[in-house]
């Protein structure tokens, strides 16, 4: 079932928020106010938003090193996200995590993760806990095509399938594992086909079509909540920007390939779809939505900039709980 027009406009707003957030994060990174490394999700927004639009607040997700989109789609606070990127005390992780480790346990966002494939087994455990709990929660792992070649992907799919865990494995196949193309490193093109080996549904979806992602995810979530086990969803998509904002390595991807994918902009696509439906989105409404999104980002930057850096002694705190 298609989400309501109102819900679709909300999905559009989230996708645009992800894009504007990252445009600003990238600018401020290159301006020196954000440190370390930032991995941009621009171009893949439809995956995070399409999947998270099917989840409840207490459902749990784990993200990747490219995690801003998942945080925003799950409902994270932009101020605390931006403050984290700025390394400030008010950030989600008190400035201890940065871009790659944003988490908000209160909304079921169990963390972006700096290890490729690092989240897949953890989500499997969250799914196991959800099953033990019996309250119908599901857990979602977002990961890339690169992670699908790491051991825990296979181990986790097997265990989740064997135990019928309420887990959804969402592979964001953006065609590149860091700099290396999937075509060079995958024995077969479709990652979803691997689901067959574990006896679970493997679904391929256009990852730039947020409604298609929503539909596939809704089906997988319903299956998981019904106790029928996991689903592997492969979202074919593309990142517009290089692997990281760090410019120490060239972008090896062919320009004509990038151009082809720029034309498949998931946001422009949803805008066009809504505009084509009588009365669902006007140019003026879209412009106003974008202005609001930008105001939210501006506020987040203001919050970050006005927040203090952590005190030095905090570097030794939070190592142990007890």
């Amino acid at each position: 079932m298609q989400p309501s027009p109102e819900r679709q406009r909300e999905m559009l707003r989230q996708m645009q928020t992800i894009r504007r957030f990252e445009e600003r994060a990238s600018d401020d990174y290159h301006g020196g106010a954000i440190y370390g490394v930032v991995h941009c999700y621009i171009g893949e927004e439809a995956v995070a938003v399409g999947v998270c639009s099917t989840l409840n607040r207490d459902d749990q997700i784990i993200s990747t090193h490219r995690g801003h989109g998942h945080c925003i789609a799950k409902g994270a606070d932009l101020n605390r996200m931006m403050a984290e990127l700025y390394g400030r005390e008010t950030g989600y992780c008190k400035g201890k995590g940065g871009s790659m480790h944003i988490a908000d346990f209160g909304i079921g966002m169990l963390g972006a993760n700096g290890i490729v494939a690092g989240g897949i087994a953890i989500v499997t455990g969250a799914g196991l806990a959800a099953q033990l709990d019996g309250k119908g929660r599901v857990a979602v792992s977002f990961f890339g095509d690169g992670a699908s070649n790491a051991g825990p992907f296979h181990e986790s799919l097997n265990i989740a399938a064997a135990w019928k865990l309420p887990v959804i494995f969402v592979c964001e196949n953006n065609l590149y594992a860091a700099q290396t193309s999937a075509a060079e490193t995958h024995a077969q093109e479709d990652i979803a086909a691997r689901a067959h080996g574990y006896g679970i549904p493997g679904v391929i979806v256009d990852g730039n079509d947020v409604l298609a992602v929503h539909g596939a995810a809704a089906k997988a979530v319903a299956r998981a909540r019904a106790g029928e086990g996991p689903t592997l969803i492969e979202c074919k998509t593309y990142r517009w920007r290089r692997h990281t904002e760090r410019v120490n390595q060239p972008d090896f991807r062919p320009e004509h390939e990038i151009e082809v994918w720029l034309k498949k902009d998931p946001i422009a696509r949803l805008v066009a779809h809504l505009k084509s439906q009588q009365g669902q989105l006007t140019d003026a409404e879209w412009q106003e939505m974008d202005r609001q999104v930008l105001r939210g980002i501006e506020e987040a930057v203001g919050f970050a900039k006005s927040s203090p850096f952590p005190k030095p002694e905090a570097a030794l705190e939070d190592v142990f709980a007890s």
Binding site: K96, A103, I122, V123, A126, L128, I159, D318
Partner: protein, 326 residues
């Protein structure tokens, strides 16, 4: 007080903690069949296969799933069978479990126990005999426990299960059948980070842990016949470790031997030795000595394996030389 084995002691501990707290559960290979050393025997009958979960041989995902289940509020006990096998899951332990709390700014708790038996055991050769406890003491965020007696294997395992941090819990494979007097009932807890003076003495201090405790006590017995009183300290927990107990003892005796089964190079004994040297250096009556395995993989054939063992004789000889030199 009951006379029970190291194996029975930890079985009792886990069962008591599972009765006490429904969030505690265990996962690993063959647990429903009692575990590879019988340390889970009978538990599935009482707690069912959901709380005594048999997993495939997928160490990375066993560990990672336990991290996830701990993050969302359960208290898993992970069984790795052998510390050697846990190496298949080091990413999940070191990059995930140990760091989640810190890198998420204190939001996360990872209350899990990672059981990974260590040590030489009946010619088990290079991949089933290692003592890797020192590795984990190097990782901020991990607690490291090495019980040496049945009483401690009960009291420390219970404390580990109640701990809100990831605890690397390293039983010694050669101790499973060794009996000891163990306090009865569910209230026997041994605090993490407290050493025990296993034997008091004034001539030299022998610091040790895990199975090497019994070897050190034998050495102390032999030394007593020669009129030398060795103080034997069982660290019990390597992180946090009881610096004060060691410093107090060496301040009295002026002599220190650290005896460990692990490879001596970069073993935890080096940390103990360095700490004592830093704090008490000029007051020492003799140089500090570390005893441990030479830096070689552990061999299969008994005479070869024996080359790598620290013996009571070697500890006693070392102690005599130290006492003569001071």
């Amino acid at each position: 007080m009951s006379r029970i084995t190291y194996q029975q002691a930890c079985l009792d501990a886990l069962a008591e903690e599972m009765r006490r707290d429904p969030r505690v559960w265990a996962l690993g290979e063959d647990l429903g069949r009692g575990g590879v050393f019988g340390q889970y025997r009978g538990l599935v009958a009482e707690f069912g296969p959901e709380r005594i979960a048999d997993t495939p041989i997928s160490e990375a995902t066993i560990m990672g799933a336990a991290v996830g289940a701990a993050l969302v509020g359960t208290r898993p006990v992970v069984e790795m069978r052998f510390s050697d096998f846990a190496l298949c899951a080091v990413d999940e332990l070191v990059n995930q479990a140990a760091k989640a709390r810190f890198m998420f700014g204190g939001q996360a708790r990872v209350p899990m126990v990672i059981r990974q038996p260590i040590g030489m055991w009946r010619s088990s050769a290079a991949q089933h005999s290692q003592s890797l406890e020192g590795w984990y003491t190097h990782i901020p965020g991990l607690v490291v426990v090495t019980p040496a007696t049945a009483a401690d294997n009960k009291g420390l395992l219970k404390s580990a299960i109640r701990c809100d941090d990831p605890v690397v819990y390293m039983e010694h494979k050669d101790l499973w059948q060794v009996p000891d007097d163990v306090p009865d009932g569910p209230d026997h807890l041994v605090p993490l980070g407290k050493a025990r003076i296993a034997q008091a003495g004034s001539d030299c201090t022998i610091v040790t842990w895990s199975r090497m405790l019994s070897v050190a006590l034998q050495a102390a017995g032999a030394l007593a016949k020669d009129g030398l009183e060795a103080e034997v300290i069982d660290l019990r927990t390597l992180w946090p470790w009881d610096r004060q107990a060691v410093l107090d003892s060496v301040a009295r005796t002026g002599r220190l031997i650290v005896a460990q089964e692990a490879v001596v190079v970069s073993g935890f004994g080096a940390e103990v030795a360095a700490t004592v040297a830093e704090e008490l250096g000029p007051r020492l009556k003799a140089p500090i000595r570390r005893l441990g395995s030479p830096r070689a993989p552990i061999a299969y054939s008994p005479p070869l394996e024996d080359v790598l063992r620290v013996t009571a004789d070697s500890i006693a000889d070392t102690a005599k030389r130290l006492c003569a030199s001071g």
